[in-house]
Symmetry: C2
Subunit: 296 residues, 2 copies
């Protein structure tokens, strides 16, 4: 008998999911969703992002959400996305211990996404690290497996870029398949290469399900050394401007599979599934693309 392997499932629905909703979800509904996830046993969660309310109106209540959640769930691993030093300062001021900072592997996507060159992003990251050395910064490497403008990167380009970030002192990475174009062979190879090159680092993945490869790519990552996997309840996260586009890998599908395979996630599957079904019927602004696959 081997011990069942524990794998952290990191819920990013309250951030990556909700920010793609067409309609504003009131703060109490956001808090209820987060509470439901906590009650279902989710302990790792990206709860909001500290961005400009003009850019992403859905996140205008970020400070309130963060303050309340940090107080309510002091034992949970709660973190937020921050695009810059200012966001990181807000997170730190509210008592958050960890943030995620996104930089794209591809220069053109980084420019399109956050209007900075990669060098400028790395400089900003350096400022965050210098100003707030006690804050854990996870770098989300966007377009790690493919870019809408530049196509598929070489694996060497990925390893080199992770190396640049690593040199700034970052030891927590998340490789993101931002547009859902990865395949399992690519994911396995990339994970193994990054893990081998940076054995002192924690590497997660964040896979979009755009082409129905969410589950298979997430499993591929786990089996090649991923230290955690990100997903969203109900597969939330479809782009509201791309009808039929799916969001992230659905947390309930992932947990269902992992438990059958003998992995431990600490999550209560029936509770999680109930929550996914509620979300599917209750959330305003149909987040088309995904549907609830599992009935019971």
């Amino acid at each position: 008998m081997t011990e069942p392997r524990a794998i952290p499932v990191v819920e990013v629905g309250p951030r990556d999911g909700l920010q793609n909703l067409k309609e504003y979800l009131p703060t109490d509904r956001k808090l209820a969703l987060i509470d439901g996830l906590i009650q279902a046993g989710v302990t790792h969660m990206q709860i909001t992002s500290f961005v400009s309310p003009k850019a992403i109106p859905q996140m205008q209540d970020a400070e309130e959400v963060a303050r309340i959640c940090l107080e309510r769930y002091p034992q949970a691993d709660l973190f937020a996305l921050v695009p810059n030093l200012r966001g990181a300062q807000t997170a730190h001021r509210l008592g958050m211990k960890k943030v995620a900072n996104v930089i794209s592997l591809s220069e053109s996507h980084n420019k399109a996404n956050i209007n900075r060159t990669r060098s400028q992003s790395l400089e900003e990251l350096d400022r965050i690290r210098e100003s707030l050395p006690e804050l854990e910064v996870c770098v989300d490497v966007a377009t790690a497996f493919g870019c809408p403008f530049e196509g598929r990167p070489t694996q060497q380009a990925l390893v080199d870029f992770v190396g640049q970030v690593h040199q700034l002192g970052v030891r927590t990475f998340c490789l993101c398949d931002t547009i859902g174009v990865a395949d399992p062979a690519q994911v396995r190879s990339a994970l193994a290469a990054v893990k081998a090159a940076f054995p002192d680092s924690t590497v997660q993945v964040h896979i979009h399900d755009t082409r129905n490869m969410g589950i298979v790519n997430t499993l591929a990552a786990i089996e090649c050394g991923a230290d955690g996997v990100q997903s969203t309840l109900g597969g939330l996260g479809g782009c509201p401007f791309a009808p039929g586009a799916s969001g992230n890998t659905a947390t309930e599908d992932l947990v269902y599979m992992l438990h059958l395979m003998g992995y431990e996630t600490g999550i209560d599957f029936p509770k999680l599934l109930g929550l996914a079904k509620e979300l599917y019927t209750d959330v305003p602004g149909n987040y088309s693309g995904h549907h609830i696959h599992i009935n019971s």
Copy 2:
């Protein structure tokens, strides 16, 4: 450089897909679908089933479909599902070289599905083999990974049952996840065990996508020795009496992944995808559950 591995993708949409449609698809539409698949490079196809038209009205034109297709596509590997000797005789009379005969691993499912005990099914299979020795009979082992009444079988029960069929001279098997409850670890282990026990046999899988495990389980089977994988265009095959229930693994998703991974299927992906999109909008009686994931 290793040679790209060829993997037969066996299209079963014209049978398993269409038989679940609420509305009757006229013969010329069925023929157009099969022709589109052939033009897209599909060479292995289950085109119909020789069953009672009372039981499955959708298949009332089985003889006509088979006769026309066998004449039009003499090079293709076309076969039909047959529940009994009578169906096998019809297939043989029309010049078909191969049939699939379904028997459930679980006694209770076999009774519910074809109103026979497994012993009776094995006797009927023996009669088919005795009467038509030149006909290749593939046995579809239904509920190979789980049964709605009996739950998950032991792997030994599966291997033993395949052995009973093997003793009747059958050398072509298809392990079916009839209700979509398998997980990748189970599929890998089962495939490896059956392939090891019967090295003279060809073993395919047929995975339903009920719980969004279609792609991951199908890949698991391929990587543990499956000689071919079954799927349906557009994920056709959802049960019309179970809203939201998905059908089979979608052929276009599978081919998309396999090509990215370097497998050869002989299928023209853009043509296949175009056909899936047409099917999705054209087929009468919404076959809910699946949607087209890939846009281009």
